[in-house]
């Protein structure tokens, strides 16, 4: 876990992007040579509904400063209804995070279609600026979490 203190600190933001809309939109942003901050890392998933709230918790636990979940616009889901589940799940998760003292701005869900390259760029810039203003996520720094428990869970209780 890294502790960031210097003034040139850049947040580290994780973006889960669905393969059919947002990931395509992000590729299009590249194709159009749009520029946005370097601090966003995309993880490709088939559908935003694949994103388990556990992934988000894990990211915060490991020191990510922000998490974005992006998918197709409601009604346009490649798998017809997946993003409705996403929306409901993450509305709940946001409240849970807030309850745990994580600023809700650190976790956002956005709908970006395959053609909305500019929206992808703007979203990244905007979220990045917001999180930069919030400062590093120190919530779990020094907390005595036994990560191995989750690790084991994640490995499917192989022991």
């Amino acid at each position: 876990m890294s502790i960031k203190k210097d003034n040139n600190w850049e947040p580290r933001i994780l973006a889960f992007c669905c393969n059919w809309c947002t990931y395509t939109g992000a590729d299009l942003a590249g194709l159009n040579r749009m520029k946005y901050p370097e601090n966003v890392r995309v993880i490709r998933v088939p559908c935003s509904s694949k994103v388990n709230p556990q992934f988000v918790l894990r990211a915060f636990q490991k020191g990510a400063d922000g998490v974005l979940v992006c998918g197709c616009h409601p009604g346009d889901c490649h798998y017809s209804t997946g993003n409705y589940f996403t929306r409901r799940r993450f509305m709940l998760l946001q409240r849970l995070l807030e309850y745990n003292g994580i600023d809700p701005k650190r976790f956002q869900a956005k709908w970006i279609s395959g053609s909305e390259a500019a929206k992808f760029r703007d979203t990244v810039a905007e979220v990045s600026a917001q999180i930069k203003a919030l400062g590093p996520n120190n919530k779990f720094v020094g907390a005595h979490y036994d990560n191995t428990v989750m690790e084991k869970e994640a490995e499917g209780g192989k022991d």
């Binding site: 520029k35 370097e38 559908c47 694949k50 388990n52 992934f55 894990r58 490991k62 760029r121 994640a154």
Partner: protein
């Protein structure tokens, strides 16, 4: 221990000009599990691929990370390449260093740092990849078309012409649907029967087409390539193998009931061929009307049938058949305006008719031999009102959508009245006139030239005083209430999905929109597909449309079917969900999340301590699963997981990102 090979592509200068690719490759070497790392000008080129293959050999690599362009670009290329090596094609991850790094950043140091991070994430993920294998499923080279209207007929003919067997299931005694009821078709004023009956005959005579009239789909199981369909054949009480369609029975039958085909405006016998050009031209007995079947009297048809084709003891039959693909063409029905609009008389006035009733009235083979007369007294109407949007564009009483065909057929009706009845006047109450089609606006122009009066406003009330129907509307362009004393009123009623569409949709495992029209997979790019692979749609079951659009869609659906049936077998994607049944608690939470109904609960033997028990667990149908992973997040025990995107793999990516 994994032996990972990392290959960083320069993409000419596309990546290398912003990212220090050598530094990335260098950094990769120290990542856990990496046995080999290098960079190269063009990884996707022949020499690039050869280099990777060679590295696999030399360094005994068992999984590969390529840092290059987007996986959406070359993932398939590299998978294909791996097929020729010892490495499973799915033991591959691609770090997107071009579209999502080099092209969007300018700061070399930061971009390089990000690239290293991206590669680290891919390395972490690939370490948990498992070999996956595509499977091949054989394809039954036969299609099922549900519905024998113009959409179903056209789709069946096109598929059959490609050389595949087709079965049409039609619930009525004849194919033909609504089109054969119509008199003329806009905007060309072709005789509808003249252009649709030849197609019906073609369908009946085509060596590759089997007609199953008076039949319904009872159940559907299986998946693309191999649907198993049970077809229910309703009781015809006439053996069609013996019957020659001579029609003698029809003429002698003493019972007369309302004719569905003539929209209630004439009668037909209990044993009947619905209309003259029916295909097949063989009768069925209406069991609710037949004296023999209801009261055990009469029996004339049996006595006079020269071939002994009548069988009062007929029973419902079920047959099972395999199909490779299904086309849904269940069509529409007119909404029952009588329930929606008590202010239009709610059906009390005989001279307030629907557009479809008018089609029968004006049709030369209809109940009046084409004479437009009032149903109540047989007089020729002079003043006719046409009311558009009855049930359409009315979210409170009817449907919120526009039924699309009414503007044009109302113009056609106006034209026909003005043409056939000298001195007649036609008033058309409309909200908007919508004519987006080839030759449509011109047709509307001509109708106005014929003398049709278009009045912009919705009708509020229709009632009868003495001999006249009083129609009250507003001329909203004048801002003044207006009244027309009409002899006849034609309502352009809304189209709605065929009755029992819910059952069809449920049996097929496809979905409907809020108005019960069948949902297409994508409104623009996959307009004739449903989201269930192998099931296609065409015609008005998808939404209101006119004949040209219906026929175009039917041929499109046929092409999609042919594209499946032309293969002997098909490859399935291995990146689908699977259940670890030893961990599944059988809670069933995953079942409703699946848009494809691919998950079901099954009973399997299990153990409770020492006792043998059966327990319920989830099971994924591999033919139906499309690999979205929605069920994964719903699973409480984490036992259902998407291959290629397992929870484990993604968590490893997250961890690597946060390092």
């Amino acid at each position: 221990m994994a032996r990972i090979g990392v290959f960083i592509c320069h993409c000419g200068t596309n990546i290398a000009s912003v990212v220090d690719v050598e530094k990335v490759a260098q950094a990769a070497k120290s990542m856990p599990g990496v046995a080999f790392a290098t960079d190269y000008k063009y990884m996707c080129s022949e020499p690039g691929q050869a280099m990777i293959k060679q590295a696999i050999e030399e360094h005994h690599l068992d999984r590969i990370v390529i840092g290059s362009c987007s996986p959406r670009m070359h993932e398939l290329t590299f998978r294909k390449m791996l097929k020729a090596t010892n490495v499973n094609p799915y033991m591959l991850e691609i770090a997107n260093l071009r579209e999502q790094c080099a092209w969007v950043h300018t700061d070399r140091a930061k971009a390089t740092e990000k690239a290293i991070n991206l590669v680290r994430m891919s390395v972490a993920k690939v370490g948990n990849n498992k070999p996956l294998h595509t499977s091949m499923i054989p394809i039954t080279k036969k299609a099922l078309v549900i519905g024998g209207g113009i959409a179903g007929i056209q789709a069946a003919l096109d598929i059959a012409d490609c050389g595949f067997d087709v079965t049409i299931v039609e619930k009525e005694p004849s194919i033909g649907g609504h089109m054969v009821m119509l008199d003329k078709t806009f905007p060309t004023m072709d005789c509808s029967a003249c252009i649709s009956t030849p197609k019906m005959v073609d369908a009946g005579a085509h060596p590759n087409i089997t007609l199953k009239t008076y039949c319904e789909v009872e159940s559907v199981s299986g998946y693309i390539g191999n649907f198993e369909v049970t077809i229910k054949e309703k009781t015809k009480f006439v053996n069609h193998d013996l019957c020659t369609g001579c029609g003698l029975c029809q003429t002698k039958c003493p019972t007369k009931v309302i004719s569905e085909f003539n929209q209630g405006m004439s009668k037909r016998p209990a044993i009947y061929i619905p209309f003259a050009q029916a295909v097949p031209s063989k009768p069925v007995i209406d069991e609710n009307a037949c004296l023999k079947l209801t009261k055990d009297k009469c029996g004339i048809c049996e006595k006079i049938c020269p071939l002994g084709a009548i069988n009062y003891k007929d029973e419902v039959r079920y047959t099972k058949e395999q199909f490779g693909a299904i086309v849904v063409a269940t069509g529409y029905e007119l909404a029952d305006w009588k329930k929606m609009y008590p202010e239009y008389g709610g059906g009390r006035y005989e001279d307030v008719i629907t557009g479809l009733q008018f089609e029968r009235l004006v049709n030369a083979s209809g109940p009046t031999e084409g004479h437009i007369v009032r149903p109540s007294d047989g007089k020729e109407p002079k003043d006719v009102v046409i009311v558009k949007c009855v049930g359409s564009r009315d979210p409170k009483k009817g449907k919120s959508y526009c039924s699309r065909a009414c503007c044009m057929y109302s113009a056609k009706h106006a034209h026909q009245i003005l043409d056939k009845i000298p001195g007649s006047r036609v008033y058309i109450f409309y909200m908007d006139v919508r004519t987006p089609g080839k030759g449509y606006e011109e047709f509307y122009d001509n109708t106005r030239r014929d003398g049709a009066q278009y009045i912009r406003g919705r009708v509020s009330k229709i009632y009868k005083e003495d001999d006249k129907l009083i129609v009250k509307g507003e001329d909203s362009l004048l801002g003044r209430p207006v009244t027309v004393e009409a002899d006849m009123v034609i309502l352009a009623t809304a189209m709605e999905p065929a009755p029992k569409i819910e059952e069809v949709v449920q049996k097929l495992g496809i979905s409907m929109d809020k108005d019960k029209w069948i949902q297409e997979a994508h409104p623009k790019l996959r307009p004739v597909e449903t989201q269930s692979a192998g099931i296609f749609l065409c015609g008005t079951c998808q939404g209101p449309k006119d004949i040209p659009d219906t026929v175009a869609q039917a041929s499109a659906a046929a092409a999609k079917v042919a594209a499946i049936l032309c293969h002997d077998e098909m490859e399935t994607s291995p990146m689908i969900s699977s259940v670890d049944q030893t961990k599944c608690s059988g809670c069933g939470f995953c079942v409703p999340t699946c848009p494809y109904k691919a998950i079901s609960l099954v009973e399997v033997p299990g153990r409770d301590g020492n006792r043998k028990v059966t327990k319920k667990v989830a099971q994924v149908n591999e033919g139906l699963c499309q690999g979205c992973g929605c069920c994964n997040a719903a699973c409480r025990t984490g036992c259902i997981d998407l291959k290629g995107f397992t929870n484990d793999q993604i968590l490893k990516e997250v961890d690597a990102l946060c390092l």
